[in-house]
């Protein structure tokens, strides 16, 4: 439980730790949390968010969002922006699973049509979308294609009939981040990733069939703008990332960064905060490789979307276009990006690290796709498989306060081992079915680890960020079918 005499309350949902708290802090730490979340936050968050504040070239604040919990180096739920000339880039500030993120697909199906066929649908998707240890995807590409795929992301998919024409526009960054360079990626990373396109992974990754919760519509007009047009509309949410490809890139560069910090006179309080100047050769190489991983993840989620469209089409005997299975949006929640921001009277490019945090750009931002630009960027925040998720919208306040960033999910409150001690997977599966959620999991242990009670209350997280004005609630999404690795 967090209790700090030096912590200043800024509002009902925002707290600050001044630089005087710890020697070496270059900026204050800013935590977004209501009193309940703050009381439940592990002490590691304070330690980590204030360690990040010590990194060279950090600007404004070291942030912890409402779902923050302990991570490797940076807290999960951490955001930090760095001056491009004086600042550093840190793989720990992005995470092993580069561009772990969320994609939301709409349908024109009502739950009444899906409910009688939910088992058939989930079972089919479970067969079509590999999940779990050592799985391989059904979509195979050649080594020679990896360069183009990881440079062009979803745009490459559209050019090769693996995406609909409007898919890239409905993905963060238009489906690919600029700056990828496959020559900066190791042979091992390519070998790991090449057979994993279209796979879900394991752990907290999932594919969920959800229903719009009519009792929790917060802004019907905005929901309509995002393609949510009727009560009990069925949508599909995908949560996964860059698989072994991204993990290997992080592994490779953590090794490189650790070996080279002394050369730049950098010392960190925590080995997991290994970092190098953004402007260094190694820093630039990592950025280029990390962007390859981010684009890999966009493509991975795209291949899975194709499989989901296929499954729906087979079960409902209509093609996916007739089912209106267009993308609502896709967001990254583990990424580092060069973005243009205005702060402290200046307008400049900074490198924003979001680790377990989501971009939340406000109305009018040129990076938001045209259909949404007037209202703001869709934000997808995923809850546990028992509680459901939320669709929100980015705000002007996020641009002013948090480098356009908000929370990403619930955040764990309990270790996997502890969760397995409390819950039996088979029993949980049965209870969820009784509550109308049909779950198919690769392992029962994996299911138990993902029990709802192992996570923070997603509504508290979402309410906090809404109250802070950082991301505004649009509608809640209730789970009815789930696939877990």
């Amino acid at each position: 439980m967090v209790q700090l005499a030096s912590m200043k309350q800024i509002s009902d949902v925002a707290w600050e730790i001044p630089p005087s708290y710890k020697a070496g802090m270059n900026v204050p730490a800013r935590i977004y949390a209501n009193k309940t979340l703050l009381a439940g936050m592990d002490a590691g968050v304070i330690d980590q968010v204030t360690n990040v504040a010590c990194l060279p070239g950090i600007v404004r604040y070291s942030y912890a969002m409402a779902d923050a919990h302990w991570g490797y180096g940076f807290p999960i739920g951490g955001v930090a922006a760095f001056d491009l000339e004086k600042g550093v880039i840190s793989p720990g500030g992005i995470g092993f699973d580069v561009n772990c993120g969320m994609r939301l697909i709409r349908t024109n199906l009502h739950y009444s049509e899906v409910k009688p066929r939910i088992k058939e649908l989930v079972d089919l998707i479970f067969r079509l979308v590999p999940a779990g240890v050592g799985v391989k995807g059904s979509q195979s590409f050649g080594q020679s294609q990896m360069g183009d795929i990881t440079t062009l992301g979803v745009r490459w998919c559209a050019e090769h009939d693996l995406a609909w024409d409007d898919d890239p526009e409905h993905v963060e960054e238009g489906g690919f981040i600029k700056g990828a360079d496959i020559s900066k990626v190791s042979r091992q990373a390519v070998s790991r990733g090449i057979s994993q396109f279209g796979t879900l992974g394991s752990g907290n990754h999932y594919l969920e069939i959800q229903v719009v919760d009519p009792a929790r519509y917060f802004d019907r007009d905005l929901a309509k703008n995002f393609g949510i047009v009727h009560d009990d509309q069925v949508v599909v949410m995908i949560h996964c990332g860059s698989r072994g490809f991204g993990h290997q890139i992080c592994t490779d560069y953590l090794r490189t960064f650790e070996s080279n910090m002394r050369k730049f006179g950098i010392e960190v309080r925590d080995r997991d905060l290994a970092c190098l100047p953004i402007s260094s050769k190694e820093g630039k190489d990592y950025y280029s490789a990390m962007v390859c991983a981010a684009n890999f993840a966009f493509v991975n989620r795209q291949i899975i979307v194709n499989q989901v469209r296929d499954a729906f089409s087979r079960v409902f005997h209509r093609d996916a276009e007739a089912l209106d299975m267009h993308l609502i949006y896709d967001v990254c929640h583990n990424v580092g990006k060069v973005e243009h921001h205005t702060f402290d009277g200046t307008s400049t490019d900074v490198l924003v690290h979001r680790k377990g945090a989501t971009r939340s750009f406000g109305p009018g931002h040129p990076d938001i796709p045209a259909p949404y630009r007037a209202v703001g960027q869709p934000v997808i925040i995923g809850g546990s498989m028992e509680t459901g998720s939320y669709l929100l919208v980015g705000t002007k306040k996020a641009m002013e306060e948090t480098f356009g960033s908000t929370a990403h999910g619930s955040g764990r409150t309990m270790s996997r081992t502890a969760a397995k001690r409390e819950v039996r997977g088979a029993e949980l599966q049965k209870k969820m079915l009784e509550r109308g959620i049909y779950v198919k999991a690769a392992t029962m242990d994996g299911l138990a680890e993902e029990a709802g009670m192992a996570y923070k209350d997603i509504s508290e997280v979402v309410e906090t960020m809404d109250a802070a004005g950082i991301s505004k609630k649009v509608v809640a999404l209730r789970p009815v079918g789930n696939i877990k690795g």
Binding site: Y72, V133, G203
Partner: protein
């Protein structure tokens, strides 16, 4: 997911760490020793050697779908190199009791230490 391993020899320590990695990913009793793979690795330090060895096992799991249940590791602690023979088989979802998908070895608390005759290692895996 974290583990601590110990042994009276550095080679035994590396074997224990490899076995712990396997144990996290699968029930090793369900993995038959049908395939043999030899690993020859060298590094700057003993820490790095262990890091690279465990990383290589994770890579082989993803690239070749191989899991191993038996290890024989010979570490040269002076030269910071090793030769390891691992026996296992291709992943069979019908027969193997699969557990967690280990995706990376983290730097968190990572280290190889020696106290008297005893070698110890602490490893945290990202799963």
């Amino acid at each position: 997911m974290a583990f601590e391993a110990s042994s009276n020899t550095v080679s035994g320590l590396f074997e224990s760490c490899a076995e712990a990695l396997t144990e996290i990913m699968v029930d090793p009793r369900t993995v038959k020793p049908r395939v043999t793979r030899v690993f020859e690795i060298s590094a700057d330090t003993l820490d790095r050697l262990l890091y690279d060895f465990l990383t290589e096992l994770i890579v082989v799991k993803d690239v070749d779908s191989l899991l191993f249940s038996k290890y024989l590791v010979r570490v040269d602690p002076v030269g910071n190199s090793l030769k390891a023979t691992a026996k296992g088989e291709e992943i069979d979802r019908g027969r193997h009791k699969l557990r967690n998908d280990a995706k990376a070895v983290t730097m968190h608390m990572f280290g190889v230490t020696r106290a008297g005759r005893s070698w110890k290692a602490t490893v945290v895996l990202d799963i």
